[in-house]
């Protein structure tokens, strides 16, 4: 009796090893197809996005509400102390602001003189919320809640208030994936602002913990570049718009070839606490495009 009982349910199912074989072949095929051809998996991207993104948005909302609630539980003393501090900060900022405004007027008039009215403050930007991050602790990339429907295209630059965050690598209907500049595979062609020397800034997973990115190939024979110098994206970069602040030079070391220098850059963006970013809706103009 028991063999009969046992046989019945097994009849319908494909044995595990054959199913594994099918799945393996399917996966290898998928890998090969997506690797060799450049067909973006747009069908999957949009269909999966429609189902998953609302889920993620909901969870982000709930978790940030919980977070806000925890924040509210701060004691009154703490808030009072913070208030004092902030008032002082407001005062200093106001005075700083007036100074900056003067500079700004001067700058605009000078810019008009030079006909150079395009800095990155003029680019059309759209705000987006981070709704998921690469969960596997490597902090490779994150997902934002704007996609093709909002006019986002691959290679658009992502900034966050202070400076460069990364670049859009893939878009779905209502989501896009952003590759950050601190990622292992990220390389940005950059310039030291005050000397105009070019360098290559490259992320590395080992440096993420320290919150820095590495740079190399800085050709600076006279030693004009100092620690603390601003590093911005360069004019010759193929994907990044020029003049976006990346960070400040942290260390400088002379390479063994005695020609170039390398070291570390401290990015201005706080990658650990990113929540909202801005997408610059202008693509770098290159000869091919």
């Amino acid at each position: 009796m028991s063999p009969v009982l046992k046989k019945k349910p097994e009849k319908k199912k494909i044995p595990g090893k054959y199913l594994l074989l099918i799945v393996t072949v399917l996966c290898l095929g998928l890998m090969l197809v997506t690797f060799t051809t450049n067909i973006s998996d747009s069908f999957l991207n949009s269909s999966v996005g429609v189902v998953v993104i609302p889920f993620q948005k909901g969870i982000v909302n709930v978790s940030s509400k919980l977070f806000d609630y925890a924040e509210k539980q701060k004691t009154i003393e703490e808030l009072q102390a913070e208030n004092e501090r902030l008032k002082a900060e407001v005062d200093s900022l106001t005075s700083e602001n007036t100074l900056l405004m003067q500079d700004y007027y001067e700058l605009t008039s000078l810019r008009q003189l030079y006909d150079l009215d395009q800095t990155y403050s003029d680019y059309e930007k759209v705000g987006a919320r981070i709704i998921a991050s690469d969960s596997s602790s490597w902090f490779n990339s994150f997902i934002i809640d704007k996609g093709e429907d909002d006019g986002i295209k691959p290679d658009m630059n992502i900034i966050s208030g202070a400076g460069l965050v990364g670049i859009v690598t893939e878009t779905g209907k209502n989501w896009s994936r952003v590759n950050t500049i601190i990622n292992d595979n990220a390389n940005v062609s950059a310039t030291v602002l005050h000397t105009g020397d070019n360098l290559i800034a490259a992320g590395s997973i080992e440096l993420i913990e320290q919150g820095v990115i590495a740079y190399s190939g800085l050709y600076d024979q006279d030693g004009n570049v100092k620690e603390g110098d601003k590093v911005v994206t360069s004019n010759i970069s193929s994907k990044y718009l020029p003049g976006i602040l990346i960070g400040y030079i942290d260390t400088i070391e002379i390479d063994s070839n005695n020609m170039t220098k390398s070291g570390l850059i401290t990015p201005v963006v706080d990658f650990e606490h990113l929540e909202e970013v801005l997408v610059i809706k202008e693509l770098k103009k290159t000869p091919e495009s």
């Binding site: 046992k6 890998m31 189902v51 981070i130 596997s136 997973i205």
Partner: protein, 181 residues
């Protein structure tokens, strides 16, 4: 019965994926996030058998690939393989035994991390195993184990109460048959 099972599976996978990618961003331990998708793959493999383990793993991995990988299929294959191996241990599974699931999750997590280290790092020329072990493998494994102590019983309860009411009974019958043979 079958439709119920599928709905529960899909909803759990979506929920776990969303939790893994979205909510833990707010409360991270170090940079690590527990591998919830691994927990669900291992649990379904153990509770339901090879076929379900493979399918659950495949879809979990594919979801991850679509969102975070440039090529599709890498995580899908890895998760499907883990689901298959855990499904093969389905015969050893007992409802009241939490040791087997936890050990399975631990071994799967280690295997999973090493695979990622080999395919995503070593092949790209990054050989720093010590960094990898200290900063990624250890915290992630610890976090995953911690979460699985809570998440696994939850999955088991859902499986028992909603998906398969004869779950316990069936298991006992299955035991009887294997004993008889």
């Amino acid at each position: 019965m079958k439709i119920k099972k599928w709905i529960i599976s899909i909803a759990s996978v979506l929920l776990f994926f969303s939790l893994q990618t979205a909510a833990f961003r707010v409360f991270p331990i170090g940079r690590s996030v527990p591998e919830l998708l691994l927990i669900i793959t291992v649990s379904y493999g153990l509770m339901r058998g090879e076929q379900d383990g493979i399918l659950t793993g495949f879809f979990c991995g594919l979801l991850f690939d679509v969102f975070f990988m440039d090529i599709l299929g890498f995580y899908a294959l890895l998760y499907a393989f883990i689901g298959f191996v855990c499904g093969a241990a389905n015969d050893l599974f007992r409802k009241d035994d939490i040791k087997l699931p936890l050990i399975s999750i631990l071994l799967s997590e280690l295997f999973f991390c090493l695979c990622r280290f080999f395919f995503l790092n070593v092949l790209l020329g990054n050989f720093n195993f010590r960094f990898f072990a200290r900063d990624i493998l250890l915290p992630e494994t610890a976090f995953t184990m911690l979460v699985s102590i809570g998440a696994y019983p939850l999955l088991l309860i859902v499986e028992e109460r909603i998906v398969n009411r004869q779950f316990i009974k069936k298991k006992e019958e299955g035991e009887g048959i294997t004993d008889a043979l």
